[in-house]
Symmetry: C2
Amino acid sequence: MRAWEENIRKVIPYVPGEQPKQKNVIKLNTNENPYPPAPGVRRALLRFSDFSYDNLRKYPDPTADALVESIAGYYHLEKDQVFVGVGSDDVLAMAFLTFFNSSKPILFPDITYSFYDVWADLFHIPYERQPLDEKFRIVKSDYEKKNGGIIFPNPNAPTGILMELDEIEEIVKQNQDVIVIVDEAYIDFGGISALPLIEKYDNLLIVQTFSKSRSLAGMRVGYAMGNKTLIQYLNDVKYSFNSYTMNQIVLAAASEAVKDEAYFQGTRKKIIETRERVKKELKKLGFSFEDSMANFLFVTHEKYWARDIFEALKRSHIYVRYFNHPRIDNHLRISIGTDEEMDRLIAFLREYLEERKEQGKA
Amino acid sequence: MRAWEENIRKVIPYVPGEQPKQKNVIKLNTNENPYPPAPGVRRALLRFSDFSYDNLRKYPDPTADALVESIAGYYHLEKDQVFVGVGSDDVLAMAFLTFFNSSKPILFPDITYSFYDVWADLFHIPYERQPLDEKFRIVKSDYEKKNGGIIFPNPNAPTGILMELDEIEEIVKQNQDVIVIVDEAYIDFGGISALPLIEKYDNLLIVQTFSKSRSLAGMRVGYAMGNKTLIQYLNDVKYSFNSYTMNQIVLAAASEAVKDEAYFQGTRKKIIETRERVKKELKKLGFSFEDSMANFLFVTHEKYWARDIFEALKRSHIYVRYFNHPRIDNHLRISIGTDEEMDRLIAFLREYLEERKEQGKA
């Protein structure tokens, strides 16, 4: 070992979901939106290929004012209640670095977004996982012990299960000595946001993203909302890390996405309708799952192993997500695509299960 | 104080250079390139407003392969010797987090890029500033003491002074137990890169940026080059922080910028020629400065206070940079703009100094 290796921060990195490079796959493995971004995004891109082109040589606005203002306007907040970052991962990483500096462990569910323990390890933050109950529900009373902060997604990932607002309020209320982060990446698909609670509790931070309901995963935009003291602390750390994270094109394009309410409501509604229909179809095929309020379903089959189904789907170019983790290694997470994509998935599954049944008889 | 404030990482944030919002200013305060990005960047933007538009709903390639490949190809490196980030600030922040985990202080010059101490404070890294000599030169022997790592820009900022390659090699050689980072943000304006030394020293990391010589400050792209072990450690930390930092548009557009060698050489040459001409003009006006090999000059006047000149320039909508810091509070950093912009600067200075002289006589 070289001497300099002693000073290196060594981590086990997060492994992102597969991004298959071949064309013509049905990609239901990373919870992307099946519909393109709002048309205003295209207009913003055209401006940069035209009269705003020369501007690219200049630094972007470090305060990200245009985007912060759009988001604040949309949620009826003040600008100093909104923080933006390079995807909600950037926002969450900054929040861990800013708020979780206690010697007591932070708390999060055992089955949840798999980045929480990665950030905790990276920043040397102690943590304790709290087990979900047998129906994959967060157990409120687990979050009443002494801790250095709390984070959980709502709806939770990869389960899709939504927690009721009064339960969330209880957790926030019981933990006013620490910061509680509610990660609402999937809230726009039928859940009720805890956002109004930021007026009542100064220890609550809400994190959302443009990657799912706004169809902009490829552009990297996330945001946090909270009281202005929390947002100020977040900004101080962010400016000490990288003053210019949001590029000029992102600032313009994401602002346009926020402004097109009709498009947003339209795609949101389509995804929810498709999800509800797919729930019925999958039940008919012998899959079971807790009710999901996200843009994905977390399913298990009564007879066949998830991993086998996953491999069969992949062979036929349909990508879903399989986690080889304790308690969930017989589940598949299936993103909600277009109706046509879901019909192809269901047709494949129907045929596959039929074949397996035949093989079983033979 | 609320109880949760105890767990907050409190920092004094970096203050970026002013980004004036009014039009028709001559902006020579943040070392941006006066020429637009290469034409291929425009074509990449047009692709995203056209047939690649739908792709924006999907996550970008987390390995940033297209851009890494372009950079590696340009410098005749392997892909696993290149790391990319959201501007060189992101790359440097990741490098501090990854490589500077010693209880011994890291070393950097007292007059240098003002972000180094901000990152050290943010990550609780001990540091010691090494004073430049009276001619603002880095003193090589100051970097021979025990340390936890070394970083300096070459050419240095805000002085523009270039260090000879054999001196850099001496520092790298004397410090093989730690990582040495050479921050080459301004190397393309006439300096000689230390890049070939990465083949000889496994403790050397070279950091460069698209913000200056590639005219893409508004798009946020920086990169590091080193041996594959260093790059692997950097990537592990980066993937543990945010797997998807480089958005789809950036990956495509920045790759195009690398490919257009003729455009790059053309704008580089123009800036160097303008700089050399401006050096002569400013000398005639009574300014003095050490020789700069960057896209800026760091000047002081024999008779008049830098701060007064700064204020006068600003009133007439010409922005340069003034640092109210010990040892350099009678200097101005002036970015090299187009010939026309520099002519207007010189005309203003000539008139201003003439007036001051008249006032002095009266």
